[in-house]
Structures are given as C-alpha cells and as structure tokens.
C-alpha cells in the first residue's frame, strides 16, 4: 500500500551521514538502505513522517516535518486554531481517539 506521492517532507544531508544504520533500523517503512558506508533513500513516497529517523540519527543528517497522518487531528487542530497538528489522545484528561487505542496490533497509528 502506498500513499499520496511527492508530499513527504523528508530531507537528507548525505555529507553528515556516517553510515551507522540507525535510520534503517527505526524506519517502519523500509525507506533507507545503507550501502558503502552511506544511507540512501530508496523510496521517499513511503515515508509517513513519523520522525523516528530524525530523532535517532546521531549526526542530524535527517529532517522531516514530523506529525500525525490523521485527518481527525488535522481537522480538530484547524477548528481549535492550533499551530501544531496533534490529536486529542495521550493525556489523562482527554478522550482517547480511535487511533490511539490501537487495534489488532495495539499500535495502529502514529499519533
């Protein structure tokens, strides 16, 4: 399954890469491949902007506008006039939305 093309904000600065492989280890969609001591982006359209590679890269070679790929979060953030898009789940006093309860695997979302 692949999502909308040419929208992912993933940016990679190859000069900073030391080939440690952390990005490939954390990416849930197999976007990176490390060959010859450097990481390569194999298919940018598979990126879901979860931000795992960015925070785990020790060299700061990866940048992405990380966020939740959730229409409900986009709509609710717009209605509430928030600058950053977030869902309402995750706090003690807020109603957990469907995504965050998790389905079959208990981890079916990115919010």
């Amino acid at each position: 399954m692949s999502y909308i093309k040419n929208v992912a904000t993933l940016e990679y600065t190859e000069e900073k890469c030391t080939g440690c492989g952390m990005c490939a280890a954390v990416c849930p969609h197999d976007v990176f491949q490390v060959t010859g001591g450097k990481a390569k982006i194999t298919d940018k359209d598979k990126c879901m902007e979860c931000g795992a590679c960015m925070i785990n890269c020790p060299e700061g070679a990866l940048r992405v506008n990380k966020g939740v790929g959730c229409a409900y979060a986009v709509i609710i953030s717009k209605i509430k006039g928030r600058d950053t898009i977030s869902c309402d789940c995750g706090g003690d006093d807020t109603q957990a939305q469907s995504c965050c309860g998790g389905g079959g695997s208990g981890s079916s979302c990115c919010c």
Binding site: I4, E49, G69, I75, S86, S107, S108
Partner: protein
C-alpha cells in the same frame, strides 16, 4: 525506589480477552492500564534481557504473551495508558520517561548488562544517546510486532527487514475500522433521525409520497456507516486511488448506485430529487468516514493527509449542503 513489583504470566486469561475486545469497541479504554514499573516473566536473572513497553495494558499484554517461553525483565513505562506508537509520536513513550523509570526501578542493580530492548515503533520518541548518557543503558530496537520477538531472539537479537516493516493487514484493518464504526454510530443515528423527521414533516402536507420509507432511511444510514468503516477497511488496498478520500469516493458511488436502483420503482422527478438529497448526504458521510481512517492506518503522512483533507473536506461540505437543498426543495414541491 520501587522494588520488583510483580511476576507476569505469558498466558492470557479471559479478562485479557474481554479487555481487548472492550478496547476495540472503545469502552473504558482510558482505564485500560498496567501499572508502570519493573516486572519479571519466567525466571530471569541478572543476565536476562530487559524489554520496555507502554502502560497501555494491551501493549504490555502482547509483550508478555510473546515472552511466555522466555526468562526476561519487562519495564513498563508511564505513557498515560496510550500504546507505544501513538505515545512515541507525542514523546510520552520517550527519552525522559525511560530515563526516570530506569532510575526509579533500580534496574542497574537488578541486571548486570546495560542494554534496553525497545519496541521499534517507540523510536519516534527516543534519543538513544541521551538514554545512555543518563542511565548507562544503551538502546536496542526490537521488531515492530511483539509476536516476532521469539524469532528476534533466535536471530541473536537482530530484527530483519521484514520484522522492521509495519504492515497493515486485514485483521488489523478490520479491528481499527470496527472501532471507527462504533464511534460513527451516534452521528449516523443522528443523520437517520433527521431523514425520518423530514419525511414526517413533509408527510404532514397530506402527501403520502414520502412516508413509508422508515426502514430505507435506517438501512441506508447504516449501510453508509458500514461502507465508510468495515467495508473500506477490508477493501482498502483494492480500492482505486492513493488518497483515502478517493477510495471513499468510490465506495460512495457504489452506495449511491445501489440505493438509487432500490428506489427507482417509486420514481418521479421530485421524489428522485428528494431521495437523491439524502443519498448525497450519506455519500459525503462515507467519504468523511474513510478520510478519517487515515488516523488508524499505518502508512499515511501528515503532509499527505493535509493535502487530501484540504481538497476533499470542502467538497464533502458542499455536497451535504446541496443534498440538504435537494431534500427541502423536493419535499416542498412533492
């Protein structure tokens, strides 16, 4: 300092199954938590591996089920009862909580090694370098699915490419769309009630042309809910388009064709206008429901969702207003 709190059992009891189903249905999910702390499974010693998980009880449950034949430590961190991936996105499954939980539980004195095994989907919230600096423990990522952990251990604690890739297979798609269906019940009932009310209002004019469709109002509304959740979830990869709203649009076309054919025998132009308005509203509801499945899918990006929401939501709104206008016009003139 918390002592080792409890021994966990790898087997699931009836309560665990009931709790899981209730969570899927959205009942009492907020209270489905495991107390944070250090747990043991099997008979671990100081050399046994340490697996970290969230305090959403289901997350801890699938981990202990996967470890049922393993001697290990389980460190449950406080993610406010939210699953690993969601909590990692928010940072609650994250560096700070891991550091504080490792230190609070005295893990350093319990084990002699210095490795924490984290679920891979926890990665968006974790900076391994900071965890090591503040606890002495280095972070190793396990597989995406806890069920792959026995194989991960067999492979010498390495996750291969398949284990690292998040899928979105039919059982999971059905599970999450079931949750969406339950959440969509109330608004769907409101739409059906609105249809029944307008039928009643317009029948007061003495025109019986719009009465007698109670069951169609209800079945069409429920059909839309089913189409926008379970059917969309089941057929997701088969539906055309990449955007969820386009996939939803195809379902809504099939839905509209089906119900138009159902009412065609009653047809008069005004009746078609009146009923067409209802179908248009439900078609918009389907697109909205499928668009909302993005939040429970495992591969949609924020940039993509923003793009398709900006295009599809105004269309859904316009369609619904047009539908409303058609109902009113048709109803008055009938």
């Amino acid at each position: 300092m918390d002592a080792v709190t409890d021994k966990l059992d790898g087997r699931w009891g009836i309560k665990d199954y009931i709790g899981t189903v209730m969570c899927l249905l959205g009942i009492r999910r907020k209270f489905y938590k495991q107390n944070p702390g250090l747990y043991s499974i099997g008979n671990p010693d100081s050399k046994s591996p340490v697996f970290v998980t969230a305090n959403y009880k289901y997350s801890a449950d699938v981990l202990r089920r996967a470890l049922k034949n393993t001697d290990a430590w389980i460190l449950v961190i406080d993610t406010k009862g939210i699953n690993v991936w969601c909590a990692a996105g928010k940072g609650t499954f994250g560096t700070a909580e891991i550091i504080s939980r490792v230190n609070k539980t005295g893990l350093k004195d319990t084990v002699s090694h210095r490795t924490l095994i984290l679920p891979q989907l926890g990665a968006p919230g974790v900076k391994p370098a900071e965890v090591r600096k503040n606890t002495g423990f280095s972070v190793k990522y396990g597989p995406v699915e806890a069920d792959d952990i026995p194989q991960f251990i067999k492979n010498g604690f390495t996750a291969d490419r398949k284990m690292r890739t998040k899928q979105f297979r039919i059982p999971e798609r059905l599970a999450v769309s079931l949750t969406h269906m339950v959440q969509g019940l109330l608004p769907t009932a409101a739409i059906a009630l609105f249809f029944v009310l307008v039928d009643f209002l317009f029948s007061l004019k003495g025109n019986s042309g719009v009465t007698g469709f109670l069951s169609i109002n209800i079945s069409a509304s429920l059909g839309a809910l089913l189409g926008g959740t379970l059917i969309a979830g089941a057929l997701l990869p088969l539906l055309p388009g990449r955007a969820f709203s386009i996939k939803g649009f195809f379902i809504s076309i099939l839905f509209a064709l089906f119900f138009f054919q159902k009412i065609s025998s009653y047809s008069s132009p005004l009746f078609t206008l009146y009923t067409g308005g209802k179908i248009l509203i439900l078609a918009g509801w389907i697109v909205y429901l499928v668009l909302n499945l993005t939040g429970s899918s495992t591969y949609t990006s924020l940039s993509g969702v923003k793009k398709e929401t900006a295009i599809s939501l105004p269309l859904v709104a316009a369609g619904s207003f047009a539908g409303l206008a058609m109902i009113i016009t048709g109803g008055i003139l009938l």
